[in-house]
Symmetry: C2
Subunit: 248 residues, 2 copies
DNA sequence: CGGGTAGTTGATGGTCATCAAGGGGGGTGG
DNA sequence: CCACCCCCCTTGATGACCATCAACTACCCG
């Protein structure tokens, strides 16, 4: 329910040097991996690196969709608002993710930094020209969009048909899965970058229900709460069954 | 809550004749419009036309995603199921829509014909080769996916944060918008192809709540219900405000 | 120490689900 | 042609889950 603050952004680098993309540690896991070695300087010449502080909104729903973003560091929440302040977080983006896919002339969502964030910004028109020359990039974007679509459908099932317990269980399973996929070695506890409020607005619940549900899952021995933002999954299978809607 | 029935499909035409695509009245509004005149025979050679009867499921969640589909006639509901039968309809597809976007090896959703349906089926691998030769097709698909993503985000807001009244109002507004976009002249009432059960599973509610909410909107003078599947919007602005979450 | 933010827990209430009964239309078969 | 059935829809009664309101704790940072 926070107010949306228009943010002035820190522009770090109007990157003319090819190094900006070459040395990017997020490139291999992002759509930019579709462009290789010698063509990279073209991409770099279009990119603008920006830093966004925690809590700052850098995409506003309804604004002209002039830019694409590639997230190279930090976590971002994407959300939509109703006039009275009700908020639905449609997803969290992480290092390597691509933001701003929208056909229409304006953004369909807002984006706010959860922690310290670094993004690579491309002008829409410029990137469109690059895409014309590199079909591989377009193919990659189609894959990205398809994956997000699958995730969105899963989230619709969650929001429309799952109970509070099932939603929280699903959320925790998804957090763990994300770590196991792109993470290096498995930490012994999940680090939740987002607040209870964020989780609530993501799962279509309230802060209190999130809190109570965490407590209940802890009392049932399914999870351990080391700190508010540190959750360890104790009964992996039990939580998975709950998330998938098997338990009664 | 219906059970999923594996369906034998009627294969109409292993279309070798180029005419199948050339004469297709859905081509202009579908992704196939990205392919023009002389290349159309290649598309046609890959296509298989199928008829699907109302209520038949022709894509099953979890099955190997071997095919893409292009809907040339009728209405299809896409949905996901939980083990105990809870169902979430993630969307309805109409003439010209493209089905089966999925990166993974298996479908993330099921698809069932609402009424008599005709689809054009392409093998995944074959279409991938066509896409390599026609980047315009891929571009078109990216647009399709982006649009669906925007719709999915809107639906997440609806499912996570809107009241029953707001959901039904949103649904009606969306129905009308779809007609005004691709429809010819405006009929004086919306024709709902789907049942109350379908609407309920689409909006994350129950049949009874849908019915009650329709009745209430009628008593408030916002809509008129000519028949169960014939709804006329009386107070367009009022319904729009309700849908967008303005009313108290 | 004080203030602010985030989280937890309790009491109460509302919205919508569930359970139950009845009405209406379309199809089939006697 | 009518009876019957089945499905869809509607309406009412009750109840559960989660939201809301409220109080309290913990923690961070000044």
């Amino acid at each position: 329910m926070e107010s949306v603050v228009r943010t002035r952004l820190i522009v770090l680098d109007q990157a003319q040097a090819p190094g900006v993309c070459q040395s990017c540690d997020a490139r291999s896991i992002s759509v930019c991996s579709a462009i290789d070695g010698k063509d990279l300087h073209r991409l770099a010449s279009l990119a603008t690196v920006q830093q966004v502080g925690a809590g700052k909104t850098f995409i506003n729903e309804g604004d002209p969709a002039d830019h694409f973003y590639n997230l190279t560091q930090g976590t971002v929440k994407l959300f939509k608002l109703l006039p009275d302040g009700r908020r639905q977080i449609t997803g969290f983006s992480h290092r390597g993710d691509f933001l701003g896919l929208a056909v229409s002339h304006s953004y369909a969502f807002s984006a706010e930094a959860v922690d310290q964030v670094r993004v690579c910004r491309f002008s829409r028109s410029a990137l469109r020209r690059v895409m014309d020359d590199f079909p591989a990039l377009e193919k990659r974007l189609l894959d990205v969009a398809s994956n997000e679509l699958v995730a969105a459908q899963e989230q619709m099932l969650l929001l429309g048909r799952k109970t509070a317990r099932e939603r929280v269980a699903s959320f925790l399973m998804a957090q763990e899965k994300r770590l196991s996929l792109c993470g290096h070695e498995m930490p012994d506890a999940l680090e939740l970058a987002m607040t209870r409020g964020d989780i609530a607005d993501y799962l279509g619940l309230t802060i209190e229900t999130i809190s109570r549900t965490f407590t209940r899952l802890r009392n049932e021995g399914l999870i351990a709460i080391l700190a508010a933002d540190q959750v360890r999954i104790l009964d992996h299978d039990g939580l998975a069954e709950l998330a998938d809607g098997f338990s009664e």
